[in-house]
Symmetry: C2
Subunit: 373 residues, 2 copies
Amino acid sequence: MLEKNIDSIVSANAKDLAKAANNPMLDRLILNEERIIAIADATRKIIDLPDILGNIDKMWQRPNGLKIGQQRVPLGLVGIIYEARPNVTVDAAVLCIKSGNACLLRGGSDAIYSNLELVRLMRLALKSVGLPAEAIEIISDPSRESATQMMKLNQYLDVLIPRGGAGLIKSVVQNATVPVIETGSGNCHIYIDEYADLEMGLDILFNAKTQRPSVCNACESLVVHSKVANEFLTQLAEQNTGIELRGDERTQAIIPCTPATDEDFYEEYNDLILSIKIVDGLDEAIDHINEHSTKHSESIVTKDYKNSQKFLQRINSAVVYINASTRFTDGYEFGFGAEIGISTQKLHARGPMGIEALTTTKYIVYGNGQIRK
Amino acid sequence: MLEKNIDSIVSANAKDLAKAANNPMLDRLILNEERIIAIADATRKIIDLPDILGNIDKMWQRPNGLKIGQQRVPLGLVGIIYEARPNVTVDAAVLCIKSGNACLLRGGSDAIYSNLELVRLMRLALKSVGLPAEAIEIISDPSRESATQMMKLNQYLDVLIPRGGAGLIKSVVQNATVPVIETGSGNCHIYIDEYADLEMGLDILFNAKTQRPSVCNACESLVVHSKVANEFLTQLAEQNTGIELRGDERTQAIIPCTPATDEDFYEEYNDLILSIKIVDGLDEAIDHINEHSTKHSESIVTKDYKNSQKFLQRINSAVVYINASTRFTDGYEFGFGAEIGISTQKLHARGPMGIEALTTTKYIVYGNGQIRK
């Protein structure tokens, strides 16, 4: 349906682009033939994922003969509040439909014409296969008031998922009375242990920092053991990677770098900037990370078995790695085949969320006349 | 520790009872030797439950060799806001400790002296086995302001669980910015299908309505198919059960009863009152129940296979029964060995919540130098 209507999408998109001539985020708004085909391809991949609805995750029998099963069912009505990128409109709606949910979308005003046209086409597609068009609804008034009202629709919405920058997410968490799944910002750490393979450490650090610096699973902060700091940091500085290094005092004594402030260690740069902290042991590294991280993804580079296990055990984040890049925190990389976001909260879903995070369970109980004594 | 200090608990409790001389809920406040021993026994049962912390629920390997496991870990700091009964102080704290969490308790002002003494003793017990006493904290000022402040402690609290009446729960849902698990009120339905075994139907209805009318899994509303309404309702009326029957117009034409208002069908009586609705088919029954229920527990009584499956499939509640009493919606009856409450929301936990509902997971990833391409 999308590929057959590229012209109508592009012309709706043109109206958004005309409004946004001076918007620095302009590129994110653009829909052209290539991007529309990519969106349609992504949709087909989601359609091809296995269906999990109706599955009985487990079932057991009680001494009184009751058989109790836990069955996977849709959440119901999923609300999604998001910002400029119009591809999120299709992605979010398709994930909701695949998981058996209806959705209420509220995109940003920048992309309103594109979003309305995409929703119109998706509703036609639903109808064409005998599904109710009403399963995808979009709020046509992208004002601040409409967002605030949406956050209080407890009677209708089963969950609200914000997708966008830190400001949007904070506003939803603060104002919503509907249950929220917080998708998160990532101040991700790489810790170079005293027993690290330093070459592997450099590879992992470069990958996590530079492969795509603007995303939430990119590394923002390097923690390095004092015993290997000299060698590791010197190699890092020699490589001229274009990364701005912001080091603590001990780092400044080893390599040329910008002095790091306290705030630097809390910062998610989403840019080619790296904060650096030198520690004297694993415990100090773990404490530093748990204090400053956003509880997204952290990785230790080490050859030591005991240290690797302690790091896994004690780091309080959604995903904890041994000897791998934090960039793998992603629904596709985890093998889920899709991703609705990465949860940094602990309730319901934590880490990359695939289709299953958009479902819930209900208990089904088979009896033959049991009453409670 | 509790059984060794019965005197100090009883004397703290006496101070609460002195304040509450005219309180109609007085019985719920009382702590005597028998009740304290019962609390200690319940605590030992929770201690004996299997430990689930650290379990890897699943683990898989990706084509790039990454091994990804999902490990069960504590939530962190669990907040619990509850009302008068001081036994909840012990029960909630012990469940939190068993699941590896710290807890912040906020009980009602009625039981403040009892609660403070129980917490003092539990903290001594923690210390005596080498655990930090700070893992159990109680707010000593049981004012409305302290509750409101607690609901906004996003920086510290991982989850907030209200335990108490509908007013308390509503206030928490409306005001909390911390993630909440809503434990619920129950307007539970029994549906007597046209193919029901009527004798089984009467047994189940009586059990669900009268075995303990004050609790959330008690039946509040009977829905009966018109083809069997005459026979079933006549038998019900003849039994003189002491239940006040509130029927719709068609019911009034069959048996003597109070006329039911529209509000009756939304009501959780928690008393020996039953609303009755006659329907002409299963679809009408399902629609009526989904419209009026609090999404807690509903049961169909039928001998028909197809109707039983349709009811399971289409009823939108935490627990759906075939041929059994709704009174089984309970962590102990489900075999969980404990219960922190019954969730009527869909996120994180739905239905009876045992120890597992007080935990979350984190992903642990074993690599050997993987970087993202």
